[in-house]
């Protein structure tokens, strides 16, 4: 009799496993982890509560996805149902993406637009990050009687004063990952002292990196700044060191508002003279090989719905892309940031827009420039050489 019970138990277990395997479960792949992922996971939880569709969130950087996806697409497969990836990459592999035109038909986009290839919406911007400038701790500036600068000489003087403070290693912390925090800083310098047209000309290749106007930005502004900037430090470590007071200012995107202990102590200033700041969307796509295509589209629709966007806005760290989301939906730090950004033009992040081999070269060459400013000629030459042909 006992053996019958055992057989029944095994059968029951196997059935549960089968039902579990067949149940609709979405795999969502995004680049965020830890505290940075929490606001997004909260939105996914809300989706699950509303629709009953289960999900699994997996963290994978775009860099790592770029190795996996082409082979999977080649085999007619995909590792997830909703995947966040670089825009330039999605456009390149557009044939493998589901058309999301219907899903976003009624979304009033602000800051950015969906990624459309051959009339099909293959990528949807979900949130926007901005790189507004240099962050500082209000308490640190108050303790040392420092103020945000209003001119370039003022900025240099600020750097000198910070560097002279006992216990300070360098005036500015320089974050490093694969190299993108340095490219963000460089882009900000180009926008501030080269202007928006020079910046956009560099993106579309009509202006060379070795041209006099670009060289001038580097020689007159960026290279002198490097005297006061630390060598590249892993960006989350740099964030901690800056917060602890080893550095006075830190150039970073607005996502750090969700990563510090006290966002209300954060202040930010753009380089004096800047009229534009870079920003970019975090874009997702649904692969046409998704095993749960309809459920994935439901999730996409929820992420872009007013409810989904308001929930994400409440989490802070990013600006949502729906124009009808009220500023009151954001935490105070984001509201302050939105106020600080009034009057600024938002231009696309340069390296994310160009992408490909050039992006990696840009990051790598800036890592070299940061520790060897005298290599400027080589750096600019390589950036021109590596720029996509045609």
């Amino acid at each position: 009799m006992r053996s019958w019970w055992r057989v029944l138990g095994v059968l029951l277990g196997v059935s549960v496993l089968f039902v579990g395997a067949w149940a609709e479960k979405l795999i969502v792949i995004g680049p965020w982890s830890g505290a940075e992922a929490d606001p997004f996971v909260a939105v996914l939880d809300a989706f699950k509560a509303k629709t009953g569709i289960d999900y699994e969130y997996r963290t994978m950087r775009a860099e790592d996805l770029s190795k996996v996806l082409p082979a999977q697409f080649g085999a007619g497969m995909a590792p997830g149902d909703v995947i966040f990836m670089w825009g330039w990459w999605i456009a390149k592999f557009a044939d493998h993406m589901a058309d999301l035109s219907d899903v976003i038909a009624d979304v009033p986009f602000a800051y950015t637009t969906p990624l459309v290839v051959d009339g099909r919406t293959v990528g949807v911007p979900y949130v926007v990050f901005v790189k507004p400038g240099f962050w500082y701790r209000k308490s640190f500036f108050a303790a040392h009687d420092l103020r945000p600068p209003t001119s370039w000489p003022d900025f240099v003087s600020l750097l000198k004063r910070i560097k002279a403070i006992p216990g300070i290693e360098d005036a500015a912390a320089s974050g490093d990952g694969v190299g993108w925090p340095l490219s963000d800083t460089t882009e900000h310098f180009i926008l501030a002292y080269g202007g928006v047209n020079t910046f956009l000309g560099l993106i579309d290749g009509t202006i060379k990196w070795e041209s006099p106007e670009v060289r001038a930005v580097f020689e007159k502004y960026l290279v002198p700044y490097l005297d006061y900037a630390s060598e590249p430090i892993e960006w989350t470590s740099a964030l901690d060191l800056w917060w602890e007071g080893k550095y006075g200012i830190y150039f970073m995107g607005n996502w750090i508002t969700g990563m510090v202990d006290d966002p209300s102590d954060l202040g930010v200033f753009a380089l004096p003279g800047a009229k534009a700041v870079t920003g970019g969307p975090d874009i997702f796509f649904v692969p046409k090989y998704s095993k749960n295509l309809e459920a994935a589209k439901k999730l996409a629709a929820f992420l872009m719905s007013k409810e989904g966007q308001e929930r994400r806005a409440a989490g802070g760290g990013k600006l949502v892309v729906r124009a009808d989301v009220s500023p009151t939906a954001y935490p105070p730090a984001e509201r302050a940031l939105m106020k600080a950004l009034e009057g600024f033009t938002l231009v696309p992040d340069m390296d994310d827009t160009i992408g490909g081999e050039w992006q990696a070269a840009f990051w790598d060459q800036l890592k070299l420039l940061w520790v060897k400013p005298e290599a400027l000629d080589d750096v600019l030459r390589v950036l021109d050489e590596k720029f996509p042909k045609g």
Binding site: K67, G179, S237, W363, D364, Q365, L368, V382
Partner: protein, 325 residues
């Protein structure tokens, strides 16, 4: 007396059905039976190797002979040798890196190989002579490098040479060493490649030490006793007994290390991503960039073929040696 089956004469055409006899009387020879049995055992392995190793290798070689415009012959290879990212002889040893990925691999071989093999040998000999409680711990610590995943190894190297967390810059900084020695080694072109090579010496020395230790245990102790009776010093015993008898092991370690250095990727990818400014780039990483960044399978295949070509002589020697044994 019946002769054994092995002693039976094998004529030409044995194993084939004789003319004029029905097929039912044909019996395969023992040799053929052995082959069939061997193939039966090997079949699954051969299919897997054929599918996952041989076929991709042939495809890679084939792709390396093409470019986006069609058949390119050896043009991809010619381009590689004219590319500063692969070979930059103008800078090599005259200025700080980058010297090109191929020359960086050469540096790995020239520095990492002798250190790893030599250190592993010396440590194996020293540990075999000392009887103490800490020897096991020291052995374990050194061997830890080889069981550590290389991705983790890359992270360790990154922190080992980090300005704030790293031991090396902190010690050198306290001794008054200038930048970049007292700064983050992986951030500076002068020290990035060196940091990776030094870090990976720890990661790989365990392998050399374990193989040499195993080799040492096979040497007859009587040889040492005889040498001691003849008055040979420790150094002489090492020179005339240990070293020659460990030669086969040392050669195997050197060959394996060489192959490992040619395809080194993980550590570089994690610790420096080949930077700064390509100062620590290696062939395998350049192949990766070509394949997954440039989305250029032809250049990537040419680099992969190049790595294979450099590995072939050592692989061939290794295979021949094993077959001879």
């Amino acid at each position: 007396m019946r002769s054994s089956p092995r002693a039976e004469p094998r004529g030409r055409g044995e194993g084939k059905p004789r003319k004029g006899l029905p097929l039912i009387f044909w019996r395969p020879s023992r040799r053929r039976e052995e082959w069939v049995a061997a193939l039966g055992f090997l079949a699954i392995g051969l299919v897997l190797i054929g599918f996952f190793v041989i076929w991709p290798s042939i495809r890679t070689l084939w792709l390396s002979l093409f470019d986006a415009d069609g058949f390119a012959g050896v043009r991809n290879f010619a381009r590689l040798f004219g590319d500063r990212e692969i070979v930059d002889l103008g800078r090599f040893l005259r200025r700080e890196p980058p010297w090109g990925a191929l020359l960086h691999n050469l540096v790995w071989v020239c520095v990492h190989l002798p250190f790893t093999v030599g250190l592993g040998l010396v440590l194996a000999v020293v540990f075999s002579k000392i009887r103490s409680w800490w020897v096991g711990i020291a052995r374990g610590a050194i061997y830890l490098g080889i069981v550590t995943p290389l991705i983790v190894g890359g992270v360790i190297i990154r922190f080992l040479f980090d300005k704030h967390a790293g031991m090396a810059p902190q010690i050198l900084g306290a001794l008054g060493a200038p930048v970049p020695w007292s700064a983050g080694w992986t951030a500076y072109p002068e020290t990035a490649l060196l940091a990776l090579v030094i870090g990976s010496i720890w990661l790989w020395t365990g392998f050399s030490m374990v193989l040499h230790s195993a080799g040492l245990s096979t040497i007859d102790r009587e040889l040492y006793e005889a040498a001691q009776i003849d008055g040979a010093s420790e150094l002489a015993q090492f020179r005339y007994i240990t070293l020659p008898l460990l030669r086969p092991v040392t050669l195997v370690v050197a060959a394996m290390t060489f192959l490992w250095e040619l395809k080194i990727f993980d550590i570089v990818y994690v610790a420096t991503m080949g930077g700064p400014g390509g100062a620590s780039n290696v062939l395998a990483l350049e192949m990766y960039f070509s394949a997954f960044r440039e989305l250029d399978p032809y250049r990537a295949s040419a680099i992969a073929t190049l790595i294979t070509l450099f590995s072939l002589p050592v692989g061939y020697w290794f295979a021949r040696r094993r077959l001879r044994r």
